[in-house]
Symmetry: C2
Amino acid sequence: MKNLITDVPGLKVGNAEDARVASGTTAIVFDAPAAAGVAIPGGAPALRDTGLLRPEMTVARVDAFVLSGGSVFGLDAAGGAIAWLHAQGRGVPVGAARAPIVPGAALFDLDHGGDKDWGRRPPYFDLGWAAAEAARLDFQLGSVGAGCGATTYDLKGGLGSASAVTSNGFVVGALAAVNAAGRATRGASPRFWAAAYERGAEFGGLGEGPPSDDALVFALKRDQPANTTLAVVATDAPLDKAQATRVATMATVGFGLAVRPAHAPTDGDVVFAASTGRAARAPELCDLAEIGMLAAECLARAIARGVYEATPLPFDGAMRSWRGRWGSRQ
Amino acid sequence: MKNLITDVPGLKVGNAEDARVASGTTAIVFDAPAAAGVAIPGGAPALRDTGLLRPEMTVARVDAFVLSGGSVFGLDAAGGAIAWLHAQGRGVPVGAARAPIVPGAALFDLDHGGDKDWGRRPPYFDLGWAAAEAARLDFQLGSVGAGCGATTYDLKGGLGSASAVTSNGFVVGALAAVNAAGRATRGASPRFWAAAYERGAEFGGLGEGPPSDDALVFALKRDQPANTTLAVVATDAPLDKAQATRVATMATVGFGLAVRPAHAPTDGDVVFAASTGRAARAPELCDLAEIGMLAAECLARAIARGVYEATPLPFDGAMRSWRGRWGSRQ
């Protein structure tokens, strides 16, 4: 186990970023089309082709998900992944045509530094192609991919991931690009909100610590819809779209376990859920509850890891990182 | 401040229960019609007249909410509250008629003890009338109202409430009837999941405690859709239906902060949100984020208090209470 979403058999992850632009894209590419669902608890989402994920809609499986910086421009990234997948012969066959299915979501990093003066053609289509092409079982965390330009209230954000196994052996994993309006840490301390769910010292091992009034101060990055934590959860349990939607809904808890506040009107929190179906047996109702619970907790851990692993952007005035502020290990 | 949802000016709460049936009903009655919204994150809800709460539906305000035991039968309780409100001259005038607007939700306590062999006419209509008639600023917590027959995985559940004030002075409150499939405590310990948000010793003051593998064991009451935590959050900030819906969505985080797992396929988690509009000024976007955050945290505290204040039902084999297991104070 790598403690990455790629511990779930049947998917790969690729990152691409442009250091000059200070933004990037992450693609989650399924080896074979995967049943999927979505939950959209945030108040300011930027989404592409999520309507088809509703259980009553006809298309049942997706080829990939794309998470991207770039806000409204970043929704181009799914187009690049679609083009790359098409070039590989992927996609729903319709007559002689093939249509790769790639729902996407974007976070707002347009004023977090970097050169966003890209003229007529934003870079996200090409970043989406590159991210899909780069998909592997191993991938980097921190200030990469969709997490490249991400920030939280007072620390650099980034890309995080985590995995777990249910008591009956189903594998669950999560991936998050953390650009929250609020904080992933308890006030100005180095301790993460998600500490109760930490495994080993995957985000520093500092624990919950003593109660602190500072932890409960209300802190919000800005009073505009310009933030967003993006997430994907996955399992090898065979699920249909309705079950995947239940897992996505349960996974929304993970935002609340790891970020304060969560689902703010200025956040576009969204979580995609997918089933690669590689496990040998179907889950019972109780398995589904445990998969959803672990999806939430993997998501919380992935959010903490995304902040913990982040490095600052190379610009004057760039948001400081957790490691820059608190040291690489405590 | 009473640390109850009735700290929000403009609403009252009434409980009614039938000890022989071991079930009951809670009514939240607004002094004047209140703008409202709802979020339904659970997988097995039992709901009445929630469709009208969507922002695009025409009816803009509600007269009351009714939470009840009794599962599908308990949805009768809203009818009793409607009849009582009508007798008081309340309701939307339509020609010579008046239609009190009372969305409701029910939890499953049908096999938690008590005599449910009620023949042709279930008791919930009358319980709903009695609960609405009993509405006051002061009300009891624990095994009363909709919490009368409620349980969690291994402790008696009950009715809880809590309140808070935003940094700009808006009042926020929550009410919960806790019948969760999972646990509100960390494993078999007396410590509540919501401990980080506790104020004073409102649910024992035991804190988060040391990390524990036992806390992270997966525990689910049963593999059937027969549980559910019901909640109401309210604020005096003037909100429209869309803003109330955002507060309801943010408040769903409170289930996750207080119960593990939350939003299970076997839970019917639902949270109603209402605005009494008594505050002098309208909230900014940042205020709305803080109101939603405190709604989530008040809900988490209300859930913990509901379990903390519960007393066991007077039947052989009834689920033990937190106080019975851990003493009235530690």
